[in-house]
């Protein structure tokens, strides 16, 4: 068995309590436990994290190859979902 058989893992790091895990990068490891250890050595050498998730890259389902595709278009023509869409008379407070 060669190292090509080591699957790829995506690494997510929580930098401190109260924040969510953020994608940090990827790495090869034979199993989840080694992936965690390697992730610690690779992505948190300077105390960048308090918690790590590793996920097999093959388990990620992505929306589509092109990140600007119509999948997201329906949100573009709905400015009324933003608070700045609304006009409020001058002087009205706490709104």
């Amino acid at each position: 068995m060669s190292s090509t058989d080591w699957p790829l893992w995506e690494v997510f790091v929580r930098s401190r309590r109260g924040l969510s895990h953020t994608h940090a990068g990827s790495l090869h490891a034979p199993d989840a436990e080694m992936a965690l250890r390697n992730a610690r050595d690779l992505y948190t050498r300077r105390a960048e994290g308090v918690s790590i998730w590793v996920v097999p890259s093959t388990a990620v389902t992505a929306s589509s190859p092109d990140e600007k595709d119509p999948f997201f278009e329906s949100a573009a023509d709905k400015p009324y979902r933003h608070p700045t869409f609304y006009e409020i008379p001058e002087g009205v407070r706490h709104l």
Binding site: S2, D5, S26, P30, M34, L42, R45, R46, D66, P70
Partner: protein
């Protein structure tokens, strides 16, 4: 857009999307359409970069067991470990282009891909560890900071991480040289000797002069590269001269002087014959670096196999 991508072979639309993204300073991401030559250029450059990080561990690791204090030893180990990390960031960034780490390592071991020629010079004294940190990591930083804005997303992101870590590398080297320079006469001489040997090879790290650089124009157009070799080299010289003065050391170039008109330091001619010889494999340590790398890889094989066998056994047990 999906239709555009499906037609990637013949239609001109994906190329236009790519060109527009580059022109608008947007990042290209792994699954975007990109010209084959762009992909090939990136793989070549990122592989060479990753190989340089891991080969670069060797000259410094040479001094870990002989570091003069526990403090210096811990620092040096942390630095060498960082370089391994840099290699891994870059290999995984390269893998997003459809190559594999194993394939890249095979090419390195077979001598079919390069690493930076600087690592083919020997580390003869402890002061070399300082000179490498100050000058070699310093030159690398000058090269790498603009790469944080490279048009290829994964490469740019890897460079952001790397640049953050590099500044400690350079500072520890500078501090080490300063301690030697202010030490005994023999220590000062040792620091000066190291700077004398590493200065010119460090200037060569920026690559051949613009007039002879074969890949530059296209890389600039693709925004993989943001500044020419000579521009970056000049920037590095300008930064180093006052730093050398503060160290109390001289740079081995009689032609080095401030040019009021240009607003830059002038410097003497670089020995490009030496550069080409080292690239051709005739540097002082080419042979040693690559055989050491192969040996490390081969001797680690049983560890990789054992870890894979252990993982397979547990998968079976869980199933």
């Amino acid at each position: 857009m999906t239709a555009v991508l499906d037609a990637a072979g013949g239609a001109s639309a994906p190329a236009e999307v790519f060109e527009a993204a580059v022109a608008a300073d947007e990042r290209i991401e792994p699954r975007d359409w990109m010209p084959d030559a762009y992909r090939a250029t990136l793989v070549r450059q990122m592989a060479q970069h990753a190989h340089s990080e891991i080969i670069g561990m060797q000259p410094e690791a040479n001094w870990i067991t002989r570091a003069p204090s526990l403090r210096r030893k811990a620092i040096l180990m942390a630095k060498v470990q960082d370089e391994a990390g840099h290699g891994l960031y870059l290999y995984s960034a390269a893998e997003t282009l459809g190559t594999s780490r194993e394939e890249l390592l095979d090419k390195l071991h077979a001598g079919r891909q390069r690493y930076s020629s600087i690592f083919n010079y020997p580390t003869l004294t402890w002061a070399d560890v300082g000179a490498i940190g100050w000058l070699v990591d310093g030159a690398a930083i000058t090269n790498q900071v603009p790469l944080c804005r490279c048009s290829y997303g994964p490469y740019a992101r890897a460079m952001v991480r790397i640049c953050k870590e590099e500044s400690f590398h350079q500072r520890q080297g500078y501090e080490l040289l300063l301690a030697l320079s202010r030490g005994t006469e023999a220590q000062h001489a040792m620091a000066q000797d190291a700077v004398d040997r590493w200065w010119w090879p460090s200037l060569m790290m920026f690559g051949p002069p613009d007039s002879e650089s074969s890949h530059s124009d296209q890389s600039m157009a693709w925004k993989i590269k943001r500044h020419s070799n000579d521009e970056l080299r000049q920037r590095f010289v300008d930064i180093c001269v006052p730093q050398a003065e503060s160290l109390g050391l001289t740079l081995p170039d009689p032609d080095l002087r401030w040019n009021e008109q240009r607003g830059h330091y002038d410097f003497g001619p670089i020995d490009w014959d030496e550069f080409r010889e080292v690239l051709r494999g005739n540097g002082p340590c080419n042979e040693e670096r690559i055989s050491q790398r192969r040996r490390a890889h081969e001797e680690g094989a049983w560890v990789r196999e054992a870890a894979a066998a252990y993982a397979a056994k547990h998968r079976e047990a869980d199933a």
